[in-house]
Amino acid sequence: MFRRVLIANRGAIARRVVAACTALGIETVAVFSDADADAPHLAEASASFRLPGERAADTYLNQRALLAALESSGADAVHPGYGFLAENAAFARAVAASDATFIGPDPRWLETMGDKVAARALAAEHAFPVLAGSHRLSDPDSLLASAEAIGYPLMLKPTAGGGGIGMVVVRTPGELRAAVSRSSTLAQRSFGDGGLFVERWIESSRHVEFQVLGDGRGKAVHFHERECSVQRRNQKVIEESPAPGIDRSELETMAERSRAFVAEIGYDSVGTLETLRAGAGDYGFLEMNTRIQVEHGVTEMITGVDLVVSQIRLAAGEKLPPPAAIDGHAVEARIYAEHPRTLLPSTGKLTVFEPPHGLHGVRVDTGYQTGQRVTPYYDPLLAKVISHGRTREQAIGRLLVALTAFRIDGVHTNAALLKAVLGDDDFLAGRLDTGYLSRFLENLPESADV
């Protein structure tokens, strides 16, 4: 097992990794930008290193600074968390070259799955259902020709990257032509690669994903699904498991297919197969995420498995955890620092930041505390509030109680909007699809207090 792990991340996931390492008796080394000098996990880690600067490019994305911290800290492994360098193969190789272990999959998986077109092809090769889609294309004319063959509506996507950046639904050739240069520029700027492709888009489909772990030697285990259809700007807002209103045997079939896929290819870490569900039994591969996910806590709440501990153990050469049955229901709500209607980010000092505590069946993952500043340099996620109950109704009820008890002041948040969604008839009935939240916002009366 590792002796000391450097955490190349910030916020809630940095804190989460500190907790997992502590449970395993491993020392932790935190890093922090100048904007995060008062982050709570710095006191929880065994040691911390300053990354001079504020912008992500100068700090948490700065490989040279992180590798210098790795060397001087004497850490023998690096946990990349999610986002930042978590799926960067060059960084993973540089960590290995420094005689430390990158806690994640072999870099070749970061490359294969990071290339969305290559990932689709691999999934198809292993009989995992994929949506009709094109190859990597760069000029509008080839994209238009492919689009004609696949049919509208379509999703235009960068071949690299993630987080919904540069992804846009197009319904006509005119829209496609207009979207190509913008998406390509965005992708070039965000991921250093402007390549695009088009993929069939299904209106009213659901985002259902499957949690897997592979040992790289032909064995793998799945931990069921997460339903993540409540999204804005292709980013998740509410996630839950089990997925409501879908036949259990259908979900288990897809979870088993996901498990078999990672076992067959020899994938060697935690991962998630994201799919779009068009209708009963009709799934299409979206992408495979080769890291711990933001919403991993949902799965932990219904299985009792510690996914971060399992990931670290796997990286240290230990065995996979055994499969676990679903116990009850879990729902996660992401509190973002944003204006709930315009979705514009909101920065400022957290004059009050008091997560609920002592509530039965409630877990809060956050990297913030009272007095800290929410800056424009990183993503707007303030906290993940996760509840567990015997039934979906009980879990939703507990989440509502927790969100009501959570006190935040100093920035605008979507907390009231989350509560409104949790009380919405369609949400409660499990009538979910990826367009749900934008419709909900459109139909929200001016007078509604969100």
Partner: protein
């Protein structure tokens, strides 16, 4: 009359899409700001002539900071 165009967010300037002296219509994108990994277009609130651009790419901007000035000719 002169109209000041203010930033709705704290962030930085990613890209300036116009220049001083240009005629702008309501809704024209003047520049794109970046905050919390999001791109926030700044649109012309009125039609007129852009008479001042007060920021350049990479500049940090505060909420309510004046970014540009448009003269509506009236």
């Amino acid at each position: 009359m002169r109209h000041e165009v203010e930033s709705e967010v704290q962030g930085s300037v990613w890209k300036v899409e116009t220049e001083v002296g240009r005629t702008v219509a309501v809704g024209d994108v003047l520049m794109i700001l970046e905050s919390m990994k999001m791109e926030i277009p700044v649109e012309a609130p009125v039609a007129g002539t852009l008479v001042a651009l007060l920021v350049v790419p990479e500049d940090a901007v505060a909420e309510n900071q004046v970014l540009a000035v448009i003269d509506d000719g009236g």
